[in-house]
Amino acid sequence: MIAWPVMRRAVMRIGGALAADRVIGDPDDVFFLTRAEVLAGLESGGP
């Protein structure tokens, strides 16, 4: 699946943004959120 690497980069950038906003402790923690929690975190700064 050739889309995997680009999707992973996008997720890691989202993880970095959420960690910078102190929504999660570490960018890798993004994988333990759900899609709804990620969207809420990006929108409001908290999952």
Binding site: A3, A10, R13, G16, T34, V38
Partner: protein
């Protein structure tokens, strides 16, 4: 040890039949993260089933999967009697409107659908998928984080559409093998004994496959590199050599001179 771990239940959280040995389940070799399950898996399954509905009129009830103790199980409930009855009018309508696509569902007629799906994959889907990924690669490092979910949604939908094509073609492969098995049993089994299986085994893997590659229609997958796997490597090589020899013998049961002048 001062206490036993609690009992683990493997019961399904939803009614119906679920399996790990079909479609996406075959590719997922470990527990899944909440993000993977709730985003990529869900989006790919939605696109897969929308595509199957569009192609052949098959409608799948939700949920398309369940997660049990972190492991993914794919729903077989589209095969249930109630789901089949609900899909039947739509499938019959597609049978009239697009008979070559519906032919792919039935083993004796699958050879009529295979070229259609193969041509679409080669000429339309693969170039579109590659172009979409190339566009995304050009944007993924510069888009603001708030716009990245839309990019992921777009890629997940494309991946789901691509997976639907794999399902159609890989499904055709096993159905064509059923035809080979029937032919062998009817015309050769009485004379040669055995089965068709040596004819479809013992093929060489590619010289340098990626670690995650699935490289043949028979789902050859490289084992995860473990010390146990390494110690068994010579035994595996011998097993493979035996399969190759069996296939060569089955391909030419009376000796080459009988067929080659």
């Amino acid at each position: 040890m001062t206490a036993l771990p609690p009992d683990v239940s493997w019961g399904s959280p939803a009614r119906g039949a679920y399996t790990r040995t079909l479609r996406l389940g075959e590719w997922i070799s470990g527990p899944v993260t909440p993000l993977f399950e709730s985003w990529l898996l869900t989006a790919m399954e939605d696109r897969l089933h929308r595509q199957l509905d569009q192609w052949i009129g098959q409608r799948a009830p939700r949920p398309h999967h369940v997660i049990v103790n972190g492991w993914y199980f794919y729903s077989l409930n589209w095969l249930g009697p109630a789901a089949m009855v609900r899909s039947l009018p739509s499938i019959l309508w597609h049978l009239v409107r697009a008979p070559r696509r519906v032919a792919g569902v039935i083993p004796p007629t699958v050879r009529h659908s295979y070229p259609l799906f193969e041509r679409e994959w080669r000429e339309e889907l693969l170039p579109r998928y590659r172009a979409g990924v190339a566009r995304a690669e050009g944007r993924v490092d510069t888009l603001p984080p708030s716009e990245l979910p839309a990019l992921i949604d777009e890629m997940a939908a494309l991946a789901g559409e691509y997976f639907a094509s794999i399902v159609a073609l890989a499904g055709a492969a096993y159905k064509m093998e059923m035809n080979l098995a029937r032919f062998y049993r009817r015309h050769l089994g009485g004379l040669l004994g055995g089965s068709h299986l040596p004819l479809v085994s013992g093929f060489e893997p590619p010289a340098r496959p990626d670690a995650h590659a699935v490289v043949s229609l028979d789902w050859w997958q490289a084992a995860w590199p473990t010390s146990a796997a390494a110690s068994n490597a010579s035994e595996a090589a011998r097993d493979h050599d035996r399969l190759v020899e069996a296939r060569h013998s089955a391909s030419c049961p009376f000796g080459r001179s009988r067929f080659v002048s």
